[in-house]
């Protein structure tokens, strides 16, 4: 069987302190993975650091937000004919050592999209603050109901995709509230979605793009986006599956 080409998609915004380590860790873990860092118009030297560590860097000409940045990576993967993509954050919260865990269902041909969830296993180590935990749970329930399949973590930025997933997300990726809505888009489009337990680290540098103050506002906006997204029609992909 032909060797499948793997790409790691790493969105980064002002992550010069962490990005080098992230790239090194992926490469040290599996040197056959091409690492693509999407620099969403950082003010610091994120792009140079990533390049110096051997990543391919896509530099956006202005800040377009996490969703648009990630989609740039999917478009790159599509254009360059990658078979499998794994997406992880540029702040170092996703451990490269877990890449095989998240890739396994895709490589086995069992799933088109694998979500690295922090809550599959109830005894998982990750305990977010109360408000965030509630938000995550509400989104998970909502997406589960609207998408017709139980998911436990819709805000995870740690996912793996096969070619079909890459094609879908390159064409159709929500820009505003990407992770939550993307999960719904995938389910609605008929992708086979699986989830595996992963542990995430606390970020070491930089700060989360979601501050506590904005959390409630965020929840309302995401629910609205989910509602609208569920009214939309998506191409059913299972017909295209060979």
């Amino acid at each position: 069987m032909k060797e499948r080409r793997l790409v790691a998609i790493v969105p980064a915004w002002n992550e010069s302190g962490a990005i080098g380590g992230v790239v090194d860790e992926i490469k040290a873990h599996d040197s056959s993975i091409d690492v693509v860092v999407i620099d969403d118009f950082s003010a610091d030297d994120t792009a140079d650091v990533a390049r110096a560590h051997g990543a391919t860097v896509l530099e956006l000409p202005f800040n377009i937000g996490i969703g648009g940045a990630v989609q740039t990576g999917f478009r790159y993967a599509l254009e360059h004919g990658y078979d499998v993509a794994v997406r992880l954050d540029g702040d170092g919260q996703h451990a490269a050592s877990q890449i095989p865990v998240i890739l396994a269902p895709v490589l086995a041909g069992e799933a088109d999209l694998v979500i690295g969830s922090r809550f599959v296993d109830p005894g998982g180590a990750y305990r977010p603050p109360f408000a965030r935990r509630m938000g995550i749970r509400v989104f998970a329930r909502l997406v589960s109901v609207l998408g017709g399949q139980r998911v436990t973590d819709t805000t995870s930025g740690f996912v793996a995709l096969d070619r079909m997933g890459i094609e879908l997300f390159a064409a159709e990726f929500p820009h505003d509230y990407p992770e939550v809505e993307a999960t719904l888009v995938a389910l609605r489009s008929g992708l086979r979605v699986a989830q595996v337990q992963v542990d995430m680290r606390e970020r070491t540098t930089g700060s989360s793009s979601i501050t506590f103050v904005r959390s409630l506002y965020y929840i309302v906006k995401v629910m609205l986006a989910l509602f609208v997204a569920s009214l939309r029609r998506y191409p059913r992909l299972e017909d295209a599956r060979r």
């Binding site: 860097v57 896509l58 956006l60 000409p61 377009i64 648009g68 740039t72 790159y76 254009e79 820009h175």
Partner: protein
């Protein structure tokens, strides 16, 4: 009944609006496709200002009995809402196109950077080969 003054002021304001929009289009500062809704607004307001019986009749239909010109305000407000909504759709489309462009630029720039790197590498290889073969690099090759 609609006071005559309201009709006159309404008509003048509508005509001004139409003239300003036409002038902006003429001077290419406003695209026709965005001017259309404004012109319709101006014409509808002009008609309702001048056609006093019409305004009174419509006011009767919608239950405005005490002061028919209120309908004029209501119609103006409705059209302004339409224009704003139209602009929201235009902004959304521009935003999508902007993101698409930014993504394309990032992808193309990466491609260009990679190719120019290769080109420089090639030039280096050629030069080394020439030096090794003892070619005289001080005389530039003849341009065709």
């Amino acid at each position: 009944m609609t006071p005559v003054r309201v009709s006159i002021v309404g008509a003048i304001a509508s005509i001004l609006l139409i003239l300003v929009v036409l002038e902006l289009v003429r001077g290419r500062r406003l695209k026709e496709r965005y001017a259309l809704l404004w012109l319709v607004t101006g014409v509808v307001l002009l008609v309702l200002s001048v056609w006093r019986d019409g305004l009174n009749t419509i006011a009767g239909w919608v239950g405005v009995t005490s002061y028919p010109p209120a309908v004029l305000f209501a119609v103006a407000t409705l059209f302004i809402l339409l224009v704003l909504l139209h602009y929201s759709t235009v902004i959304s489309k521009l935003t999508d196109e902007n993101v698409d462009l930014a993504q394309r630029i990032a992808l193309v720039e990466e491609r260009v950077a990679r190719h120019s790197e290769v080109d420089e590498g090639d030039a280096q290889v050629v030069q080394t080969a020439l030096v090794e073969s003892g070619a005289d690099l001080t005389t530039a090759p003849q341009e065709k």
